[in-house]
Symmetry: none
Subunit: 116 residues, 4 copies
């Protein structure tokens, strides 16, 4: 899997974080599994350790991983993270639908299109 796409406008650290978020939510990375070390991942992705560090700090703030000093970063359990993510997605879709309604696109029209 290619993690970094330089064409992508999003910052590198965000692409890295998103990639791991996805792997954790999909269950590819399991609870308490060790993440690649900051340094090794930096080399693998041909990027700077600080950039990887920033991604990991973000993932830790979001509750996806936890850090053990001197040992490394490890994956957190994903059950309630999945619930949180689902909630976010629902809110996101609702927001888009409401914006659409504001410009006169009817909700049922959209839902019909989506269900196709």
């Amino acid at each position: 899997m290619e993690i970094i796409n330089y064409q992508d406008a999003r910052p590198i650290y965000e692409q890295i974080a998103d990639s791991f978020e996805l792997q954790i939510l999909k269950g590819i990375l399991q609870k308490d599994e060790q993440m690649p070390s900051v340094r090794s991942l930096a080399i693998e992705l041909s990027t700077n350790p600080n950039t990887v560090q920033k991604a990991y700090t973000y993932l830790e703030n979001q509750g996806y991983i936890y850090t053990v000093k001197g040992r490394g970063n490890f994956v957190n359990g994903s059950e309630h993270l999945m619930e949180k993510k689902k909630e976010e997605i629902v809110i996101e879709i609702r927001r888009i639908i409401e914006e659409a309604e504001e410009i006169g696109i009817r909700r049922d029209e959209l839902l019909k299109e989506i269900q196709k």
Copy 2:
């Protein structure tokens, strides 16, 4: 209507562009109506003319307005723009749903939540 919200993380030019996009799609601004001049709008919004210009350029690229040299900027017709926008929204929602399915959230679960 307040056009610029500084709490909003989006860049100013984008907020301005979105605001006019909305007004055009809603029909508040009608076909061939003249847009405020870059300078006057910059003063009204207490912002930089460069910022307004950037918003107008963006709106022109998106097909919402057209420029007549020496005369100003004018609104394009909104019929097919509305269709285009609706298409974009449908694609956007579909993309989100597909991403959700990738991490194991079922489509019908989401749709049930949305229709609440």
Copy 3:
């Protein structure tokens, strides 16, 4: 006010963040007031812009400030931040008292001492 204390074991960015958190909660910095720019504060504190940036990012995540791209950082309103902070303090004290009870120090003994 001296913001950075090199004897202090806490990282510099945290000391900077805490200092501003305090100023905002005390009302010394008011809603929508502009924060010092990253660069100017870095010079003033004889530290690196990245360090100040890290402090500001932290303050933004905690809801103390907001960023306007190209303009600077500004103070958020502190009303509900104050509530949040008070909640945190209460939880912190309760935690300490419970730990004390575990080793046989009675709650009322402690409270009597505190009220002196």
Copy 4:
């Protein structure tokens, strides 16, 4: 009792030290009782002997244990340690309350919340 919690952000040596501090203050470990050897504890906790040694050094500095060269580590009496600990706790809580007062949270408000 689980001594090490890797989810906990505190360093391992500190968690080990705290755990023994608690056992001594609770009286589970009695005066002059022998502590587990550095090596055996390291094996039991699946951690590094250096880490256990660091915890023991810390406990010795705090007066919780004493070392007899060639024989091992032994528990100190806990009577005056308890007094010292209680003192520390009171000071800690007072410090927090004073900080709260600095940002305008009233002492009696806090005490009311705590007693709930």
